[in-house]
């Protein structure tokens, strides 16, 4: 009787151990696979990004500013009158006081 009772107990422990072992192993396996996949994906992305021709930053920069140069074409530049010059200085003085307050 005693042996009969013991057997299932041993079996139970073994099954538990096996199932625990499998799940832990499985977890570690999954983690390793996931890390490898992510690292590989990052590596592939980096390789692809280096293969793809790089953007022409000089052209983009020039496109930003050359439009401004063109806009200056044939503009009218009018010399300020003495009144205007006095006014603008007054404006600056009052706006300085405003910003300080």
């Amino acid at each position: 009787m005693a042996d009969k009772d013991k057997k299932p107990e041993v079996l139970k422990t073994a099954v538990k151990a096996v199932s625990e072992g499998v799940s832990r192993r499985g977890f570690l396996k999954n983690a390793a696979v996931a890390t490898t996949v992510v690292a590989a994906a990052a590596g592939i992305t980096k390789t692809i990004s280096t293969i793809i021709p790089k953007e022409n930053f000089q052209k983009k920069y020039a496109d930003d500013i050359l439009a401004g140069d063109k806009a200056l074409v044939e503009r009218e530049y009018v010399v300020m009158s003495d009144e205007e010059k006095k006014d603008i200085v007054k404006q600056f003085e009052s706006s300085y006081k405003y910003y300080k307050s």
Partner: protein
């Protein structure tokens, strides 16, 4: 409490236990994936950004920082730049001086178009050196107006807008800009029949760029300089769209600043190295001007065409020019009140 939790434990079925395990397993996997992904992202980004510390990412807008926070932020950057460029770097936090409103005046008749100001500015302000070479100052070559005898006989001025009247009555449009005149490269300057028109940020008194900035990273300091906190710039380019002077530059890629060419004397709001995706522009060399020095373009100009000073001081050069010379502004009709004046002797 203990009895209750024990009771709960007793009632837990093996299924629940296994689902919890599964949950933790999933979380663990997701966490590992996220960490690996973040690491991959950081290693893939440009160097300056990757080296940016956590605290730098989450620092306040400069305007909202108190003095201690400003000093702390500057010290953090000094450490990073010193490591990155291999030289002792200073990041200044000098505020605007009391009773100072900076203004600029440029003698368009004297400018010979040598573009030394452009190069000095690039060097001083740690701009990207190649692909692209970012320049805050553009010197535009323009054709002088020409006198036409036939038009004189006809009498009066022809219809249309007429540019700067250089050398008497111009019966042909002056300031005529030819395609590609931005990067002119003659063997000798000044060229015959040309005049030169340097353009840069006008430090407007009512700057439209400040009004449109959605994150308030660009603002006008009390000394009139429109500054940018690069750490808060989101690169939306709204400021570039509204600037009537095309004075702002965008870092499409990571700026290429060689270590040996880096100027270690910097300012937080000025010439400290920038990163990809932020806007930059001329800020009257705040790292120099706020310590009583001239801007680098003024210092380098071989013909003394550039004048800089305090608009609130009646004895300053720039005020004397305003009082005595023939002065004009570019796009004054926009009412942005530029503090950059052009003058003629």
């Amino acid at each position: 409490m203990i009895a209750l939790s024990d009771e709960k434990k007793k009632n837990e079925t093996p299924e629940e236990e296994s689902s919890r395990r599964d949950f933790f397993k999933t979380i663990g996997l997701a966490g590992a994936g996220a960490v690996a992904g973040a690491a991959a992202l950081v290693t893939g980004s440009d160097e300056a950004e990757a080296k940016m510390t956590f605290s730098e990412y989450f620092q306040k807008n400069y305007r909202l920082m108190d003095d201690a926070e400003k000093k702390e932020a500057a010290a953090r950057m000094e450490k990073r730049y010193s490591e990155e460029y291999g030289k002792k770097t200073r990041v200044g936090v000098e505020p605007a001086q009391e009773g100072v409103l900076f203004g600029y005046a440029l003698n368009i008749q004297k400018c010979i178009g040598c573009r030394r100001c452009v190069k000095a500015c690039v060097k001083e302000n740690n701009q990207s050196r190649h692909d692209p070479e970012i320049e805050f100052i553009r010197v535009i070559k323009m054709e002088k107006g020409k006198f036409s005898e036939a038009a004189l006989t006809k009498g009066g001025y022809p219809d249309g807008d007429y540019g700067v009247q250089v050398g008497g009555n111009a019966y042909r449009n002056a300031g005529y800009l030819l395609e590609g005149q931005h990067y002119y490269d003659p063997p000798k300057v000044p060229e015959k029949d040309s005049f030169y028109f340097p353009m840069q940020c006008m430090q407007c008194e009512k700057p439209p760029c400040v009004k449109v900035c959605p994150v308030r990273t660009t603002y006008r300091d009390p000394d009139g300089v429109v500054v940018i906190d690069y750490n808060w710039c989101i690169g939306c380019r709204m400021c570039m769209g509204v600037c009537p002077y095309w004075a702002r530059r965008f870092n499409w890629g990571a700026p290429k600043l060689p270590k040996k060419e880096m100027n270690p004397d910097t300012h937080y709001m000025g010439n400290r190295p920038r990163m990809k995706g932020v806007v930059e522009k001329c800020m009257f060399c705040v790292q120099r001007s706020r310590r009583g020095r001239y801007t680098s373009c003024v210092e380098v100009c071989p013909v003394g065409a550039r004048k800089f000073g305090n608009l609130l001081d009646p004895n300053s050069e720039v005020r004397k020019i305003l009082d005595r010379k023939r002065v004009f502004r570019v796009k004054a009709e926009f009412n942005t009140y530029p503090k950059f004046f052009y003058f003629i002797d």
